[in-house]
């Protein structure tokens, strides 16, 4: 029997989802998404979990094989009670992305309060304690992924300001004061990413120097948003330049666990790992579970090569 042609180049792990609400050692309302890193030989996820009263915090889950995870009983990072953070984190700290940087790990996260969303930045060396560096964006900016190397001697990040729902790039000398913002990509009318785009996993530096960025694209339908995942390749020397962008999504909601949940038809990634040529994408589905998808850089590359549209 001929094998059925798969519509997505990301291959879903057969035992998806890998973490569900009943797997948690405490009651929770939702599991949203996870940042991912390989830390001292262990796969470590930083998961956004919403408690029953509606606030989100970040929990660590660990695994030896990247498939079977154990979730900590206590949060790794909760909304702060200290100034100046408490005012801006009152509702949630969420959507953590982990960027290894010169031996340390930077965590960008989204701080939510009644005033809106902002990007927060913190640093950990051991995933036991975490130190906040600052709230580094204006309000209603989400996303927030830090590059793992300096660009022309400056830190760089991607972000998704509310206005226009595009992906932007900004720079900083000290991680506190940011500037030089430029637009990177915009939604493409008529496409799967017609209405909104945003950065998902932190940029991955490839062997040839290019940066691979996993992003999410949204098409608004009459029954709500349809979240899908796409890819971008950025110039090795100037990541403000897009070299290639997938014409089609690399992953779309299809399975029940992606279609059914508190937010149906939502797949959202905050973490990707590159192991030799194997590309691992940890993604949240339907705001209810964490899943794993795998592919290769070659496959993503081929998908981009067919791209006919502008950036």
């Amino acid at each position: 029997m001929p094998q059925k042609k798969q519509p997505d180049i990301i291959h879903r792990w057969k035992d998806n989802p890998i973490i569900t609400i009943p797997d948690l050692p405490f009651p929770a309302s939702d599991i949203c998404n996870a940042g991912a890193v390989k830390f001292r030989g262990i796969y470590l996820l930083l998961i956004t979990i919403e408690n029953l009263s509606g606030q989100k915090s970040l929990y660590i889950a660990k695994s030896k094989d990247g498939l079977c995870f154990e979730v900590d009983k206590k949060p790794f990072m909760e909304p702060s009670e200290d100034e100046p953070y408490n005012k801006y984190e009152k509702i949630s700290v969420m959507d953590a992305r982990i960027t290894p940087f010169e031996g340390a790990y930077f965590v960008t996260y989204v701080a939510e309060s009644s005033y809106g969303h902002r990007i927060g930045l913190a640093r950990t060396d051991d995933f036991k304690s975490i130190t906040r560096i600052g709230l580094i964006s204006a309000v209603d900016t989400k996303g927030g992924t830090l590059f793992s190397e300096k660009i022309n001697n400056r830190y760089a990040r991607l972000e998704r300001p509310w206005s226009g729902e595009r992906i932007w790039i900004s720079y900083s000398d000290d991680l506190v004061y940011w500037g030089g913002s430029k637009v990177l990509i915009s939604p493409r009318p008529g496409h799967w990413d017609a209405d909104r785009v945003g950065d998902a996993a932190p940029p991955v530096r490839l062997k040839d120097g290019r940066w691979l960025v996993i992003y999410y694209g949204i098409k608004d339908t009459s029954s709500g948003p349809l979240f899908r995942i796409g890819a971008l390749f950025l110039d090795p020397d100037d990541p403000a330049k897009v070299i290639a962008r997938t014409d089609v999504p690399i992953l779309s909601p299809r399975e029940d666990y992606e279609r059914i949940g508190d937010i149906p038809n939502l797949i959202f990634s905050c973490g990707a790992l590159l192991e030799q040529d194997k590309f691992l994408l940890y993604y949240g589905a339907a705001k209810s579970c964490i899943c794993l998808g795998t592919t290769t850089i070659d496959k993503i590359e081929k998908e981009c090569a067919g791209s006919k549209w502008g950036f």
């Binding site: 964006s137 204006a138 206005s163 932007w168 913002s181 637009v183």
Partner: protein, 316 residues
């Protein structure tokens, strides 16, 4: 004859010959003139005007005056959206709402750069009001009403700005070491439900230092079924920590009432962009009316500051 209602509680008094600059004072063809920033240099007033071209985007023109009331507008715009370089992409739909702040003798113009990517705060400098050197785009999109404080505070440049959070426009304060990279943003104040500034607020003029704190004029918006009403209010900010409010007026100091404020491209708007405090103790507040003309209103500056301190009682 219907007797015109006059609100005697308003602290600001309109100049009798308002509006002071209209479309007819502009030597070149345009749609409207409004929202101008004013600096007094020696005995001359320099007024950087937002002029909306008939194409629909805005440019800046310069007007000069000896008395701060009667202005002569120069023949050509002094600053227009650039068409090449890094700013071009973000100014395709025009440049708007300039505010001029003097720091250490340099005139800095913060303005709104508008493009399909949204509105951003941009910064330029000038020493003669004719040549403008763009320094940087200093915010992400979705931000406007950026205004520099006239001095560094604790070693940092400080600005007011107005990002939109959860669809609500509030006033924030941001900090910088070099005027280019900005951070440490703090919420300053939010719209007040049920009041005249319930929908949206934003900074209007460069803050003025007083013994009671930084005096700031802001615009407050109330949304109605027929659209927004823009009014002018005042607030005092902590001298050392300018993201903290010392006192905020409960009543506006100026509301649209005259025909030239109620009737125009955008009716029911009074929107200040500049003010000059005279040696006599008088403050001249320059404001755009109905997005169609420019007006001036005056008050005794001390009274205006004290009215802010006394909140509602002081306004009567």
């Amino acid at each position: 004859m219907v007797k015109r209602f006059v609100d005697r509680e308003e602290v600001l008094s309109r100049f009798k010959d308002n509006p002071i600059i209209t479309l007819h004072d502009i030597p070149f063809r345009c749609n409207t003139v409004f929202n101008g920033a004013v600096i007094k240099k020696g005995d001359e007033y320099f007024h950087l005007l937002r002029v909306e071209a008939q194409q629909g985007y805005s440019v800046f023109a310069l007007a000069r005056s000896k008395d701060g009331l009667h202005f002569t507008v120069e023949d050509k715009p002094v600053m227009t959206p650039v068409r090449s370089g890094p700013f071009a992409k973000y100014e395709t739909r025009g440049i708007e709402d300039p505010r001029i702040t003097t720091i250490d003798g340099v005139y800095y113009v913060m303005y709104t750069a508008y493009s399909k990517y949204g509105t951003r705060i941009a910064l330029a400098e000038t020493d003669d009001f004719h040549q403008y050197k763009r320094i940087a785009l200093v915010s992400e999109p979705g931000n406007k009403d950026g205004i520099l404080f006239p001095e560094k505070i604790n070693g940092e440049y400080v600005r007011l700005d107005r990002p939109i959070g959860k669809e609500v426009g509030s006033m924030w304060v941001s900090y910088s070491k070099n005027l280019v990279d900005w951070g440490k943003s703090e919420l300053l104040m939010t719209p007040r439900p049920g009041m005249w500034d319930s929908f949206r607020i934003g900074a209007s003029i460069p803050p003025i230092k007083t013994e009671y704190g930084w005096f700031e004029i802001y615009h407050g918006v109330k949304m109605t079924v027929a659209g927004p009403i823009y009014r002018i209010g005042t607030v005092l900010l902590d001298l050392e920590q300018p993201h903290k409010v010392v006192a905020r007026c409960n009543k506006p100091v100026l509301s649209p009432q005259e025909d030239y404020e109620r009737i125009g491209d955008v009716g029911n708007v009074v929107f200040a962009c500049g003010a000059v405090v005279e040696d006599t103790g008088e403050i001249k507040v320059y404001y755009g009316a109905a997005d169609t003309c420019i007006c001036v209103a005056t008050a005794n500056f001390d009274n205006l500051v004290k009215a802010t301190l006394n909140r509602d009682r002081g306004n009567s």
